[in-house]
Amino acid sequence: MEGVNWHSFYFLLFGMTACVFAVAVVLTGSIVRMAFYLTLCLGATAGLFFLAGAGFVGAMQLLIYVGGTLVLLIFGVMLTAQGPFVSMKTRAGEWVVGGVVGAMLLGLLLQAAFRVDDWMGPDPGVASAAMEKTPPGELGIRLLGKPGDNEQAVGFESGYLLPFEIVSVHLLVVLIGSAYLARTKRRRRATDAAEAEES
């Protein structure tokens, strides 16, 4: 009990949760359970963000990703998950190919992750990160155009003002566009569609 590093403990907790539920998303067949496992996985990721000292990003992840995007996703699932679409089987061959490719990719990424010595963590004995080291105000003024303190960052003289504006306009376009796409128009009955496909 003496030497427990609580930061590492919480990292293990959230990291394991994220990994286990990410795998569960792949393995489960039911689309609704996939959405639920994805929720837990992304929630655990928010916890990891906190542990990395990015409290604001973690809260943003909870608010936008988990509370917004995933609710939207589950909403879509509930609208479309009827009868045969709840669980659609994948062929065994696809599983094998996907699994092999995935395992190779994972091996590659893991090897890359643990190769650089500098990334292996601070020297033991140095106190680990506390939560939320970055004050949210700093993110805000960077978004408002304060340049970073990095001299090599050419093209970032105006900070993140331009990306920020582009994202805002982009969101507006998406809002209008998806409202236009999803509006109710001519709706073919399920039976009609089936007949059209047979003919």
Binding site: G3, N5, H7, F11, L12, G15, A18, C19, A22, V25, I31, M34, T45, F49, A52, A54, V57, I64, Y65, T69, L73, G76, L79, T80, F85, M88, T90, E94, W95, G102, L106, A112, A113, D117, D118, W119, M120, G121, P122, D123, S128, A129, K133, T134, E138, L139, L143, N150, P163, V167, H170, L171, L175, G177, S178, L181, A182, R187, R188, A193
Partner: protein
């Protein structure tokens, strides 16, 4: 090494990110449900995001001066916002597809005519 006693580093965050990324890729490759593919994309984006955030922190590495700092967090923020936008559009497309074809199976989406 004993993970419970030693401080974790960016590598460990990257390992978690890698697992999520690979799960997302496999999910995109094997699922036939359009929304399942969308979930795979979310997993991939989050795996990448985790790396950005891990690199932004100066507490997770030996040489603190190489840390991305606030930039990494800002990129993660942009990814989150854009992912929300992407999910909204993709969902609208999926619902439209479901309305027109009465199925959500992407394998059946092989004709250009709506």
């Amino acid at each position: 090494m004993n993970l419970l006693a030693e401080p974790v580093g960016a590598s460990h965050f990257m390992a978690v990110g890698a697992v999520m990324f690979v799960c997302g890729v496999v999910c995109m490759a094997t699922k036939r449900n359009g929304l399942g593919i969308l979930m795979g994309i979310e997993l991939v984006l989050n795996g990448a995001n985790l790396n950005f955030v891990a690199f932004s922190s100066e507490f997770l590495r030996r040489n603190t001066e190489y840390a991305l700092g606030v930039d990494g967090q800002l990129i993660a923020l942009f990814v989150i916002v854009l992912a929300a936008a992407e999910a909204a559009v993709a969902l609208a497309i999926a619902l439209n597809y479901y309305n027109n074809h009465a199925t959500i199976d992407v394998d059946r989406a092989d004709e250009l005519k709506g």
